[in-house]
Every structure is written in structure tokens, then in C-alpha cells.
Symmetry: C2
């Protein structure tokens, strides 16, 4: 059985790298007070549809032994936002708002896989959701938290520096409305294709929508604005479009930029073509790409939605951002760029002198484990040279010989010394597998 396209799996030394990434994300999110939740893998198909229509490539889940007349009711979730919105409504009476949660789970899409796309992919989402109103400073907060996480992933796992591109849907919609565009949402979806179809393609599609030639040029001029300086207001106003929403959007995107730029001056750009296409954002929008790996596309994205969820009576506004763990790490792990220094947690292999001495070796291992030192006992009592090679093949750096008051050898240097299993510790750098970045 070969692998199934679009469902990545890793060897243990690759999985360790992925786990380290997840541990880093979890650690940063918890430092900022986000609580973890997990939602079930399946949602009712009604939840996975939008206005009755399922636009995504959903995987339907059905009992093999279902009765002939049974109706398909469940599907695998295709993101973590839809389940979270449902979870908030389910538990609204028991949660305290603003509710800050992170969620690290796989999601599934039945797309025809292509490079960098997966059918099963892990995401790490943070969202802050409240009842009725949610302060704008939370928009700033989720961006800063994610950039802090990316900074740690950069320093500890060697992912490239990131660029967070920010924009604001009020600014875009206000700009289009101020230009007199009849269907701003349709225009947004057209401009969202700019990178794919180019200026000429966008011109043609906007013209089809009945947008005038002068307005089209203004839209393209607006979409081309990118800045990492404090000049967004001047640059937009120079296009001469006046609208109250434009002012609100400018104010917000400038405030977001200022706050993020203060902490991460090299990692944030205002980019007026960012709109998050079909998604239902209503304010800030964010997209993150990896410097030098722009070909991977957007690896992290999010924004503000004034009504993440509603039960008819109450509305829950939210802001969130989602990091594509598989998108970023699966290629690095699959190609061996990111790999653990050893394929096992063990830092010590306890050698076995002879089969009837296994209890002695177990005693050594128990003493080491009691102090948090991961180890395993040799599976057999072959000659020491073979046991050392067993450790070497796994990248286990130390081999223990004899009883608790025995000897330990660093098989990398050959140094061997007397040691007490109740007291000896490995070099702290060896305690856990190190995640290495091996550039091609």
C-alpha cells in the first residue's frame, strides 16, 4: 500500500519536528491566555454549508452499514472556524466572554491535490470572540501573538522570516462604494484574482460588471498600494475617493500597522490588494507569507468578522488568525530540510550484558527515568559493539554499561566514564532530540 496523495505522513524523526512546532505554537498561545479546545472531526452538513450551499470540497462521512434510505448528514470539517462558531453557540451559556481559544487539529478537503495542497492538513487557530462588541485592540493582539509564534518558529526551527500583509475590508468596500461600484463584493472577488489573471484580466472582468474605465484604473491603482511606512492615508486619499467607510478603514489599518510595526518593524506591510476573497470578513484582514518562499502562497491568514456566529438573538463578533502547520512544515519535513537529531526520544541505551542480566539493565533505566532521562534497554544481549551500533543507528548519544554504579560512554567521542544512574545526567543539549535545519 503506497501513500495516499494529499495525506502526508512522516517518519518519527520528521514527526518530532512537527511536534516541536506544535509545542511552540501551544506555548505561545497559552502565554497569551488562550485556552485550548478540540471540536469533533465531523459537523452536520448543514453547518458546513453557507446559505444552503456547500462551496468547499467537503468529505461526506457515512456508515458503511447504513440502511439504504439513510441520508448523508455528516461531513469532515474543512477548517476550524466553522466548528468554532458552532461550538460558541453550543456553549454560549457556559463560556465567559471575551473568549480566547486556540485549536490545533487537522481539517480535510476533498480537493484534487496539487503541490503544497493537502487533503488532510493541520491548522493552528487563535480567535477571540465576544458578545455584541469586541474591542479593536484584539485585532492587534491576534496579529502580534501570531507574529511572536512565527518569530519563535523562525529562531527555533529555522522557518524563514515572515511578512504579514494587512488590509481592511471597510477600506476596500468604502473605496469601491465611493467609486460607485454597484456590487463591491463581486469586485473584491475579481481583484482577489489579480495575482493569477493580471491587470488585464481584472480590467476585463470589472468591465463585464459594468465598472467604468476610469474607476477600473482607480481600483487597480488602489490595489497596487503597498507600504511599510506611515503614508497609507496620504496614498489612498490621493486617489480622490471620499467615503465614510474609507475613513474608518484607514483609521483601523493605520492603527494596526503602527502597533504591529512597533514590535515587528520588518514583518508587516499594508497591502491594499489583500481582501480574503470569499470569506466573510468585515474589518481587518491579514495574510502571511514566508520570505523567499512566496511560492508556497499564504500560509497563515485571518481577520475580523462582526458576526462569527449568531443564534438569532445574540451576535458574536470575533477576530482570528489561522496558521497552516502542514502548509509550512510538511514540505520541509518531507524533503528532509527539517529533521530531529535522532529518531527516538531516548538519550541513553542501556546495554544488556547477558539475557539473565536484563533486570540489572532495567534497574539502571528506572533510575535514569526517575530523573526525566528518556532511555531504552537494549533489545538483546549481543556483543557490546553491536549494541553500540544499535544506538548509533538511532542517533542515541550515550550507552550505559553494567549496573547502577556502572559506566557510560558518549559514542560520538568514545569517552567513557564511571557513573551512578541515580546521579549522572547527559549534556543538557542532548536531553531532548534537537530539531535540525539542513538546507538543500
Amino acid at each position: 500500500m503506497a501513500s495516499i496523495s494529499g495525506f502526508p505522513e512522516f517518519l518519527p524523526e520528521g514527526r518530532m519536528a512537527e511536534m516541536r512546532a506544535i509545542d511552540i505554537l501551544r506555548s505561545v498561545f497559552e502565554l497569551h491566555g488562550f485556552a485550548n479546545i478540540q471540536t469533533r472531526a465531523v459537523e452536520p452538513l448543514t453547518e458546513l454549508s453557507r446559505k444552503g450551499e456547500i462551496t468547499k470540497e467537503v468529505y461526506v462521512v457515512r456508515r458503511l452499514h447504513a440502511e439504504a434510505g439513510d441520508v448523508d448528514e455528516l461531513g469532515l470539517h474543512f477548517d476550524l472556524t466553522v466548528p468554532f462558531a458552532r461550538y460558541v453557540l453550543d456553549n454560549a451559556g457556559k463560556l465567559t466572554f471575551p473568549f480566547r481559544r486556540y485549536q490545533i487539529q487537522p481539517a480535510w478537503r476533498g480537493e484534487r491535490p496539487q503541490e503544497g495542497r493537502y487533503r488532510e492538513f493541520w491548522q493552528a487557530d487563535i480567535d477571540i470572540v465576544s458578545e455584541s462588541t469586541l474591542g479593536f485592540h484584539h485585532d492587534i493582539e491576534v496579529v502580534l501573538v501570531m507574529l511572536e509564534a512565527c518569530d519563535r518558529l523562525h529562531k527555533e526551527l529555522g522557518i524563514p522570516p515572515v511578512v504579514m500583509r494587512i488590509n481592511n475590508r471597510k477600506l476596500i468596500q468604502g473605496f469601491y462604494a465611493g467609486l460607485g461600484v454597484a456590487d463591491p463584493l463581486a469586485a473584491i472577488q475579481i481583484v482577489d484574482k489579480l495575482a493569477k489573471i493580471g491587470d488585464s484580466g481584472v480590467r476585463a472582468l470589472l468591465a463585464e460588471q459594468g465598472v467604468g474605465a476610469a474607476e477600473i484604473e482607480k481600483i487597480l491603482a488602489f490595489a497596487s498600494i503597498q507600504t511599510s511606512q506611515d503614508d497609507i492615508e496620504d496614498r489612498v486619499r490621493s486617489l480622490g475617493v471620499v467615503d465614510e467607510l474609507v475613513e474608518q478603514g484607514l483609521h483601523e489599518v493605520q492603527a494596526l500597522f503602527t502597533a504591529v510595526h512597533h514590535r515587528f518593524p520588518d514583518n508587516v506591510v499594508i497591502d491594499c490588494k489583500i481582501a480574503r476573497g470569499l470569506d466573510y470578513y468585515t474589518g481587518s484582514v491579514f495574510e502571511l507569507e514566508l520570505s523567499g518562499l512566496e511560492s508556497l502562497g499564504t500560509v497563515c491568514a485571518g481577520g475580523r468578522y462582526d458576526s462569527l456566529a449568531t443564534d438569532g438573538k445574540r451576535t458574536y463578533p470575533g477576530v482570528g488568525i489561522s496558521f497552516g502547520i502542514s502548509r509550512v512544515f510538511a514540505p520541509m519535513i518531507a524533503t528532509g530540510v527539517l529533521v530531529a537529531s535522532r529518531a527516538v526520544p531516548s538519550v541513553v541505551l542501556v546495554a544488556v550484558d547477558s539475557d539473565d542480566q536484563r533486570a540489572q539493565a532495567d534497574e539502571v533505566a528506572t533510575a535514569l527515568r526517575a530523573r526525566g532521562i528518556c532511555c531504552e534497554v537494549s533489545p538483546n544481549a549481543q556483543k557490546y559493539g553491536k549494541q553500540i551500533r544499535f544506538a548509533d543507528r538511532r542517533g542515541i548519544p550515550y550507552v550505559w554499561f553494567g549496573p547502577v554504579l556502572g559506566q557510560v560512554k558518549d559514542i560520538r567521542t568514545g569517552d567513557q566514564e564511571d557513573a551512578d544512574a541515580h546521579a549522572w545526567s547527559p549534556d543538557p543539549q542532548d536531553l531532548r532530540p534537537v530539531i535540525l535545519r539542513r538546507d538543500a
Copy 2:
């Protein structure tokens, strides 16, 4: 939208308890040198079938937008053993044997849910698999590792003490063969129903199989043997059934019992009715239940299989054991018996004096986080009393007032003191949420 039967979800304070359980399992497994892997959620339906037949309640996965003629090919895995066997074959050339892995993932079964049964449930599996041969001491090892994990779950999360019931398929099969039972496997499956259908039910079904009355009584006498002393050989031999496999099985089950009893004298019993029914074990078998919660049934089970996987040329024997995380913890969490001391990771709420002082509060939070102290900044600048109540509702024990050189209040005692956010630390017991056991 209400919850879907059989798919448990928890509030954040419950999820924290579940995460702590998973962290404990992970920690114990890694101390013993088990490496983590994850397998995809889906397997080809051919992998999920046994001898061409799918006996389990598999969930089939199908693209919603599949073409009319497309054939169902994928199903959600119903355990972690089948995917592991497939993974070993997929990666045999890249793994080093004996290969020790742990796997903590959900599995799915489309059963009609009943109490204590789930359609989506988390399991924690450890297995050791090798090429051609695998030492018997690994049978002992996986049992000891799981009992060590259960001991930590008992001490740290208050699950009841456990009883590991052990037996050996060679012993059972040899006993039945020695009795002249024509189809030992069918007899095993009948005796496996003993708890459900009682002696009389077993008698009737065995008679239907053509087993004689005297042999049936011997089978029932054998199945009734339970001992936690060194007398299994005597008790089995007193039944007068002679078979080479009986001797092998007795030797193995006695060796397993001796080794496990040495470390965990109160937690192991030889129980000759344990057979692990339909599963394809070939030697040691184990079942674990919680003392006083026997009604939950078997919460952890496993055994030795001489051919976990085979590619035609090579055979991979293995031994493993699987812990039912959902089976044990979902009821405790759902009923509130197990809950975190607070619903958020934050140990400190940093109060905000006024909206234009938010940057000052952010600076305090950054200083605390730099030293690993989880905290969040108040979402608003309400009166201090309201901000304290905000912390109290979440169980956050400390509130910080003012700048980095400010004051911190323990809101449980009301004590307030001057503090430097670059130096102050909470009581170490407060640093992480504590998992509490609240007996009903």
C-alpha cells in the same frame, strides 16, 4: 445545533484535564524511548477489511462532489493498530527494528452509541514491532510501561487504581486442542461471551459446536481460574489437559505475571477467561479495568501478535497495548468529576487603567511572559472592581495594577504588594491550572 451523540466535546476547563492526561501518557511513553508517529485519519477500505470482510462499523469517507460513478475507497480508521501495521509496511525500509512507537489520535466507529461508547474516541497506543522475531521481554515491557502510565494518572489525576488481567492465547488454544476441541477459535469466541451469557449460555453454544459435556466443564473450570499468586501452573495442570502449547503458554504467562507483580503487586491478575475475542493475538493478552468502575468495562487492552504485518516476504511480529483515553476520561470530564482549577492558562490578569494606558499593560504582560508566566490583559478599562470580577469568573488568581513597577493582588486572599513584572513570580502551585478531582 445540539451535540451529536457519541462525539464528546468539552469546555476548556475539561479539555485541560484531557490534555494533562495526554501529556502524562506522552511523558511516560517517551521516558521509555517510544517515538511518536501520526497516521492519516483515513485508510483505504481494503486495509480496513480483514480477509475481504469489514466487520467493524466503519465510516466511509466520500467527496461530496464525487462523480456519479466514483467508488468509495476510503474509510476513517476504527483503531490505531490497522494504520500502524500499514505504516510499518509502507516505511519498513526506513525504520530501525525493533521499532517502538506511540500514537495518540482519535479513531471512529459508526456504532449506535451507548453509555461509555463513542463514535469518535481518543486512544493512546504503544507497540513494539520487529522483523522476523521479537523477544518475549517486550511483552513484559509494554505492560509495565502502561501500568506506570496508569499509576501516574492515578496519582496526578485521581483515576482509580487499575487491575491488569493477563492471559496467553497459546495456553488457551493448547488447552482447547488438548481437549480435542475441533475449532478452538470458535470456542474462544464463545467463552469470550461468558460475562454476558453466563455459564449456561456458554454450555449451550459449545454443545452446538459439538464439544462434549465433560470437555465443556473443563473449559468452564479453566475459564474460571483467576489468581494473583504463583500457582497458575498447578491450577491448570490439575485439570489434566496435556499439550505442548499449554506448557509454552503457562511458561509465558507465569513469566509475565512474575515480572509485573514484582513492580505492581496490587495491579495484576492472571485471568484465564481473557482471550481478546476476535482479535488476532497469538501469545500474551491483556485487559485492564478500573477498580470500582468495572462497569466501564475494559479501558485498555492489547497483546502479542506474531504477524502484525506481512508483505509476503517478511513478517513483523509485535506486541502492543492501547489505552482508551475517551473511555476513561470522557465520563469523568463530562460529569465534572475532573476539571481544571481555571478555564484559562492565564495566572495573571493585567488590569488596564484607561484605554490610553493599554500599552503600559501590554508592557507588563510582555515582561511576565518573558519568564513563562501566562497572562492576559484586561479587555477593557472598567473600574478595578469589575476587572477583578472578570479575573475571578475565570479563576485567574492574580491581578496586576499599574506599570512594570506596579502592584499585584492575590484576589483569593486580597493581599496586595509592590511588584516588579521583570522579577515577580506567582506561587509555583498557581503557575499552571491544577486538575482537580471532585467526587460526586
